[in-house]
Point group: C2
Chain length 182, copies 2
């Protein structure tokens, strides 16, 4: 067994040798910063593992997820949500179309648009991955009372940038530009 070079209390002391010109000691939320790192790592890890079996990566998951959740999403909307370039999106989207996880329909009003929909095959994949993540979330919320759960939702919402919200965010909050009213 390797020796333990830092024990329970060995994290870097916050107030250092702050002698003289330093720009004032800040109170950092190291706890939340690190918890978010580990929590998110394990949260997406659930899906990552399963995706390997399909020969897909995280990028495919994100596309499938939002297409399933917001049927009729346009390519442009997806680009806003994922914040990647159309070339990046194009690659994974093409695979998902070719392999029958997503279908495109031409827009009714605007025939240039390609509206995206999950096929049953795609829905099954999203459901499987969301099931794993839901299991983890349900487990994590098990011993937390309704007020606590509400606080968690409020916190996560407040962590999100509200300037220039994309269509999905507008759906999650209640149609942009208004101030968040919790």
């Amino acid at each position: 067994m390797t020796d333990i070079n830092f024990s329970r209390g060995a994290a870097h002391p916050d107030s250092h040798g702050n002698a003289g010109t330093s720009p004032a000691p800040r109170e950092m939320r190291w706890d939340i910063i690190e918890l978010l790192f580990f929590a998110y790592r394990d949260f997406v890890g659930d899906a990552d593992h399963e995706l390997e079996a399909f020969g897909f990566g995280r990028a495919h998951h994100r596309v499938m997820h939002f297409v399933y959740r917001y049927p009729g999403l346009k390519v442009a909307d997806l680009l806003d949500v994922l914040r990647i370039t159309k070339q990046s999106l194009g690659r994974v989207l093409k695979q998902l179309l070719d392999e029958g996880y997503i279908i495109q329909k031409t827009g009714n009003n605007d025939r240039r648009q390609r509206l995206l929909y999950a096929t049953p095959k795609g829905e099954a994949l999203v459901a499987k991955l969301a099931g794993l993540q839901t299991d983890r979330i349900t487990r994590a919320l098990r011993d937390i009372n309704p007020d606590g759960v509400a606080a968690i939702g409020q916190f996560l919402r407040a962590m999100i940038d509200r300037d220039d919200p994309d269509k999905v965010l507008e759906a999650i909050f209640g149609t942009g530009s208004k101030k968040p009213r919790e």
Copy 2:
């Protein structure tokens, strides 16, 4: 302005056409799943933006962060925490050493070990990035009472895998196998 193809209520209805043989409709935590996605995206986005100025990426940030926070971390520990290969770590670590953000010291007991420490330059970088993230967290927690904040911590902790915890996780929780004591 492009037309809105899904409005506030247009998210995929959970109970589909569940006629017959489907494997039972699950209650999915779409809310938390999506909030985690957006919250984490914007949370790391703060640092990403700043890192560009240094010519560094997220990988550098993660290394710097944990080296600063847990001084004397061994290379092997870092590999456990980040869950990447030593080849991947080697690349970014080499840059951080070459550019004077991190220094190595030979282990006292075991002279094969390279114990890692942040230099003042490294500490400044970590502090800058943690400051941005702390700002966001503080803002998000502003209107949440102490019980709510406790619930958020409990939730994030419970989201993390506790089997095979690395040394940093042992420090965050209270040395493996025991239950977390808030």
